[in-house]
Symmetry: C2
Subunit: 365 residues, 2 copies
């Protein structure tokens, strides 16, 4: 049973954090900021590491430090887990947590292959726990505003083309030691870590309509172990829509979506992590044509601004905890929206990976 906030009557969901990856620092801050969530325990394979994490991130006094993931999921005080483990460990630990009736907020990419994700989703479904992946930008007010724009037939029209880029310039140290380039930990490399965002953005734009096919472009950079450091792909729908994306550990930081419709275009250059925490914008232009003699345009793109009081990762935790609270208070079923979006994203990521493995042949979905 969730603890109740006496002033508001909002249940406060009690989280355990499984793993002390860098991203856990950001999300532990988010849990602390969320009005309906609290941290009660942190687990690492090394209890000392968990204790240091608690101290360094100023988690509440009394936060428990566990030296094994098993110990954390056995803790009956914990209602939900946030799991920033290496991708290869997701299936084992997300299933184990679900079996113990812990709701699962799982870092992306959700799994190495969709069959692993299906095991996780089946365990969550069977145990009636909420599943959500850790894609933060989905919860940002700008994202909802962009979706409003995309849904208005007068603004964008039918989507014809989408391009997305997600990149950062990895340090030599990252390229040597980071788990995201280790074959036994995160064998999807840049495709899993960054391509996940591009694929997710493209699918989000088309309301998760599955493409007919995915084709990787012959532009893969790999390290000595065969881990993808950069790749690109195109996605194709039966109606002729096309999307391309490029993800890379070898480029300057970038996170773009460009959506091109019959009557307008939308463009954002910081979709994953907004330039600033409290406000974000996108560019929109509709019905543009040229001035007389084709000298200049009839209009310039508008900048559409959205504001927020809470960081996007806090909004993610808040929404996840709200869904958990509904299940705990009313005994209802988990919301299928988030498992469905994760699964569609994973399916397309699998297809791109398969296309790379097949030498850039189209893979039908």
């Amino acid at each position: 049973m969730a603890a109740a906030d006496e002033d508001e009557g909002v249940p406060i969901i009690r989280f355990g954090i499984m793993g002390c990856a860098d991203i856990a620092k950001k999300v532990s801050r988010a849990i602390a900021l969320a009005p309906n969530a609290s941290i009660v325990a942190v687990a690492s394979r090394d209890a000392g590491k968990a204790r240091r994490f608690i101290a360094e991130n100023a988690l509440p006094v009394g936060t428990k430090a566990y030296g094994s993931y098993d110990a954390l999921i056995e803790d009956e005080d914990i209602e939900a887990v946030y799991m920033p483990l290496p991708t290869s460990l997701h299936v084992r630990w997300a299933v184990a947590a679900a079996v113990k009736r812990k709701h699962v907020l799982l870092e992306k990419p959700t799994a190495l292959v969709v069959s692993d994700l299906d095991k996780i989703l089946e365990a969550c479904e069977h145990n009636r726990v909420q599943f959500m992946d850790g894609t933060m930008w989905m919860h940002y007010p700008r994202t909802a505003r962009m979706k409003q724009v995309l849904s208005d037939p007068d603004l964008i029209g039918r989507i014809q083309m989408i391009h997305s880029t997600r990149a950062f310039s990895a340090t030599p140290e990252f390229l040597e030691t980071n788990i995201r380039i280790k074959p036994d930990l995160d064998s999807l490399g840049a495709l899993g870590d960054l391509g996940w965002y591009c694929i997710g953005a493209i699918l989000w734009a088309v309301d998760y309509q599955l493409p007919r096919s995915a084709t990787a472009l012959p532009a893969v950079h790999s390290n000595k172990s065969g881990i993808i450091l950069a790749c690109a792909a195109s996605l194709h729908w039966d109606d002729g829509k096309v999307a391309t994306f490029h993800c890379s550990f070898l480029c300057n930081t970038a996170m773009d979506i460009r959506i091109q419709g019959t009557s307008g275009s939308l463009h954002v250059t910081d979709f994953v992590i907004p330039y600033q925490e409290d406000s974000a914008s996108f560019k929109l232009i509709t019905g543009a044509h040229f001035a007389e003699l084709h000298i200049g345009w009839s209009k310039m793109p508008d900048e559409v601004l959205t504001l927020t009081n809470l960081p996007q990762e806090t909004l993610m935790v808040q929404e996840f905890a709200r869904l958990v609270g509904l299940i705990l208070s009313s005994g209802g079923r988990p919301d299928p929206k988030w498992p469905d979006t994760s699964r569609t994203t994973q399916l397309v990521m699998d297809a791109v990976k398969k296309s790379i493995d097949l030498g850039f042949k189209p893979v039908t979905l």
Copy 2:
């Protein structure tokens, strides 16, 4: 011999305009504005149409109206021709003009296939006349500024990925009657009319290094006659660089280049026709990383602004006329830069067309 501007000593090159297409209105204004160019004649297959063009565009009193292209290129008073004819007519009339020792400013796309362009370029070379295609944005000060940025290893680093889009939303009337969708006049459709810009921008960014291969994406829209209304393609270099582009008559107006390098990115959304005539900008971000906890960025893109006193099409005419003036005054040879850039662009366009015709197979260049 070019007429001399007595004040400046700058030779004024005398132009004939061959064809009264809409674009000729813009270029005739450009010739009028260029300090080293003047219009002396206009030709159409219908002399009345040429007369109307002269009157409607307020060309100088005394501008001659010809009812045939042959008549214009026979006129010994004319030193250079601007040729906005349908692409299928380029090889015939550009060769004919060169043989008559007229310098040739030819609308893009330059030809239906590179073998036709080679006939034009050989005729120009043999007759020692300057060739230039009508890609206006190449002559804009912003373009030179962007090239400075791309050439600075500290700003962009090694280019890894380029994406370009060029689109406009054609009217039903255009899709029924425009020469750019007529198989006997402009059989390249959107690839020739719009893809030319994308390919040109990509090649410009990489200093015209020819890609190893071009692969069209299975996203072609065609009309009943098989003319391309929209298509997309990827280009690949041996060093792993990749470029994608999308061109379409079926989308809202767009003209983007996004260049992603190891240490920075450059982005422009109005590269073909600037939003406004007298100033233009692009976005540049170098060495971006995330703020602590990956909350926000360390910096936002800079907007780099360039100003101009003359429209880009005037700058194009001025540069062409300057090169013509050098040849006329010193008897020198034509500048190979412009024929070379046109030919490289045409080669890649041919490869994309071939890939479409082969069912989206990679075509080696």
